[in-house]
């Protein structure tokens, strides 16, 4: 948090030689004990950063070929998807079952037709008339009006 504070930034900027603080301003900033400890730690921070920069690995020209080969190999290798083969097998099995069931339904020709007619409801507006229904052995259904009278 100190890094983003304006007063800390001014102390760091003066340490880096970017700005020059007046003695009055410097004294005012260092009056705060936290800022004073920060100012004392700045030299140690600088030497530590310089040491870290010195040990950063570098790729020499002779190593560049192997480095790029490793990059290409990593890009070309697909990401490992666990259990991918399992789901493929499940999908193929389900498809095969659908094929088998559908083929059976289509080739089966559907349900066998019932061999008889059926009268579900019957009525007449003719007064005094009666409608009789009967079936013959040949499967012929007869609906016959009886005593229809002269309703004209």
């Amino acid at each position: 948090m100190e890094f983003f504070d304006r007063k800390y930034k001014r102390l760091a900027a003066e340490f880096d030689g970017e700005i020059t603080l007046s003695e009055a301003e410097r004294d005012a900033l260092l009056q705060d004990p936290e800022r004073a400890r920060y100012a004392e730690a700045l030299p140690a921070l600088r030497s530590g950063a310089q040491a870290a920069a010195r040990v950063t690995p570098r790729i020499e020209d002779a190593q560049m070929g192997a480095f790029m080969a490793g990059i290409r190999e990593g890009v070309a290798t697909p990401e490992h998807a666990p259990h991918r083969g399992f789901w493929a097998a499940v999908s193929l099995t389900a498809a095969a079952m659908v094929i088998a069931v559908s083929t059976f339904i289509v080739l089966d020709g559907g349900p066998q037709a019932v061999q008889a007619n059926e009268v579900e409801s019957i009525s007449t507006d003719l007064e005094g008339a009666r409608l009789d229904v009967y079936d013959s052995d040949e499967g012929i259904t007869t609906i016959w009006i009886v005593n229809s009278g002269d309703d004209l």
Partner: protein, 197 residues
């Protein structure tokens, strides 16, 4: 995975097509016949033709159960005194349905073969008095067609037509249905219907 999904979708489409017959048009054949007795002009006595359990069969009539009808149900009794029955041309397909009826002569008034969509009404004009209306309502899982059939009879200019018969039938393909007994100036009207297989 992509081809598996395509195969599954294709099979589902095939199944839906296979099930599409439920709404396929219905082919209905209708014959309207004027049935008369050549032996004399008087009409067939309804009681003799169609005796109930309380009436005694007329002399010479076939005993119950010998006309191939369901035992116990009322059956028409033929009063034909002899000779072969006469059928107009074009009635060969329905001779089986007409043969058991107690008439000698069958005259073809109208015949029609209609292909009607489910839910639509087919109209067959028989003569100046009778008109038949048939509406396929649905197909059942066993292949039969549920059909609403109505025979309307004109009653003169002042009166609306009467429903001589209004029935809902489950028609098995290839199995004929007789509608009969409707009065005409001579003889009686018999209508034979059959749904195509």
């Amino acid at each position: 995975m992509r081809w598996t999904a395509v195969a599954i979708l294709g099979l589902l489409a095939l199944c839906s097509v296979a099930r599409a017959d439920d709404t396929a048009p219905v082919t209905l054949s209708v014959w309207a016949v004027q049935a008369t007795k050549e032996t004399g002009d008087k009409p067939v006595d309804q009681a003799d033709r169609y005796p109930t359990a309380q009436t005694t069969p007329p002399p010479g009539a076939a005993p119950p159960g010998t006309l191939g009808l369901t035992p116990g149900s009322p059956a028409p009794r033929s009063r034909a005194t002899g000779g072969e029955k006469q059928y107009d041309s074009g009635l060969d397909m329905i001779k089986t349905a007409l043969a058991s009826l107690p008439f000698d002569r069958f005259k073809r008034l109208a015949s029609e073969r209609t292909k009607t969509k489910v839910g639509e009404e087919a109209t067959v004009k028989i003569d100046s008095r009778y008109t038949l209306f048939a509406t396929p309502e649905s197909r059942s899982d066993d292949g039969r067609v549920r059909m609403q059939v109505r025979l309307e009879m004109a009653r003169g200019d002042d009166k609306p037509p009467a429903k001589a018969v209004d029935t809902t039938l489950l028609l098995a393909p290839g199995k004929m249905v007789n509608l009969g007994g409707f009065k005409m100036d001579q003889g009686e009207l018999v209508i034979v219907m059959v749904v195509a297989e």
